[in-house]
Amino acid sequence: MKQFQYVRPSTQQNVIAAIAQPGTKIIAGGSNLVDLMKHGVMSPDKLVDINKLPLKHITQGKNGVHIGALALNSQVAEDQIIKDHFPLLSMALNAGASAQLRNMATVGGNMMQRTRCPYFYDVAMPCNKRNPGSGCGALEGFNRMHAIFGQSDKCIAVHPSDMAVAMAALDATVTVVGRKGERRIAFTDFHRLPGDHPELDNNLAKDELILGVDIPANNFAKHSYYLKVRDRASYAFALVSVAAALDIDNGIIRSARLAMGGVAHKPWRLTNAEKALAGKPATTANFEQAAQIAMQGARAYKENEFKLKLAPASIIEALNHAAGLV
């Protein structure tokens, strides 16, 4: 690991001033950044440790819950408010990484974690995300884990977070603060598609700090399910994951929320399928139809063709679980 400077400011103001300097990165749990620094993928000159900021709390209000950016993944997953009202988020968090890593991983760091594309990690390989203009090793290479939605010819990587898939499905908003003050970003607008700039993972400005996430109150708690399909039974990144949440009244779906992980450069919200489900009976036949709608526009590569079948099957399975049909 390259040498770097280290600061541990105790005020938001000092954090913002520090991160505005070039070559600077925030460090929260370190579980992604330290890994990338060891691999030489990222080599900041200076780390700004934000752990002195009071951003660990989870608070419930009338309109929903606020989760501070420094709340740990394990803390959020085990929190009674979250378990009772947003079980989808608990399930998604517990499906991610290991117990040790969830004790290190923060909410802010989790949504900012970088892709696990092997070419991104291998500094000897071309990668437009790590080194813009160098090409994309995955396009013609080992692309089993890669995207089937929203990719560009510059990058076909997927976002690896499980938590983010649940957040996107639950209509969360991210609050960030920078030199110009605070702003709120819809979770579904937080991450970017690669387009011509795969080096940009999200819409957070260089001088902005994530303060926390808000999830609005909802009626999905009884019918939520996070399905993660991976190569091992646990402790592996998703090949495909599905966050499904239904508001069911007398067998009829009042409204539905669906998002997928492991298929795009960002958590992939399936709004067309959600619309198709609204007002319909909660039956497997309707879930199959929704899955078909969800897959429109999907495009695969040599090694990830299986995702074209795995993804709709996973959607149906997650919806069946959410509806209590299996």
Binding site: K2, Q5, P9, V34, D35, D45, S98, A99, S234
Partner: protein
């Protein structure tokens, strides 16, 4: 730039007699110039409540390790794992993958299990660290250590310290309710020898015993 040796546990070490640090200094000289150390020093003066480590500086940290308070000085890039093994000779904590993937380096920080290989030592300043060396009370082994021995929970033993630290946490967290739950919550600890069934049995026995772990 001045080498900051004050408060160092290795006070005798100087730039002259440490070839590795000399090499580091030369090899990263260009970066150092680009970083304008003076600005870093000034930043330190401006925010006295903040800890600032410039590029070649070691940071003074106070860490309680296995009940003993250590005043140390560490380079910001030193991981907790390397601090334990290389500076403090606490070699019970193992280095497996070094990238958060195997769990061999599992220790407790403020009572929570973490991967020491992805933890920067400077970030444990003011915290309490427990390693496998800190589990036993003198000659008396921890119940989890006893159970691992009784149930043959290891073969080569390489992953064992991390497994035991994780196993203790697994019980403390209330995640040792069933075999399936134990397997799920122990999945961050990989064993190349495949000692898993015996590890699960050891944890089940400790859980059933209801002892304080």
């Amino acid at each position: 730039m001045e080498e900051n040796q004050s408060g160092s546990s290795q006070g005798a070490e100087s730039m002259e007699d440490n070839p590795r640090r000399n090499f580091l200094k030369q090899s990263t000289l260009l970066t150092a110039i680009a970083l304008t150390p003076a600005a870093a020093v000034k930043a330190a003066e401006n925010h006295l409540d903040e800890k600032v480590a410039a590029v070649f500086e070691k940071m003074p940290v106070t860490i309680e390790i296995n009940g003993k308070v250590h005043h140390l000085s560490v380079e910001p890039r030193t991981t907790l794992l390397d601090l334990l093994r290389e500076q403090l000779d606490l070699t019970g904590t193992k280095k497996g993958c070094d990238y958060g993937q195997c769990g061999a380096c599992t220790v407790h920080v403020d009572g929570h299990r973490v991967n020491a290989c992805l933890t920067l030592a400077v970030m444990t300043d003011g915290k309490k660290v427990t390693t496998i060396e800190g589990l036993a009370k003198g000659e008396e082994l921890h119940p989890m250590q006893e159970a691992f021995i009784k149930h043959d929970g290891f073969q080569c033993g390489y992953c064992t310290p991390g497994q035991i630290m994780s196993a203790v946490a697994c019980v403390r967290e209330g995640h040792a309710g069933s075999e399936a739950e134990i397997r799920e919550y122990m999945s961050g600890n990989i064993c190349r020898c495949g000692a898993y069934p015996n590890i699960v049995n050891a944890i089940m026995e400790v859980k059933a015993g209801g002892q304080q772990v």
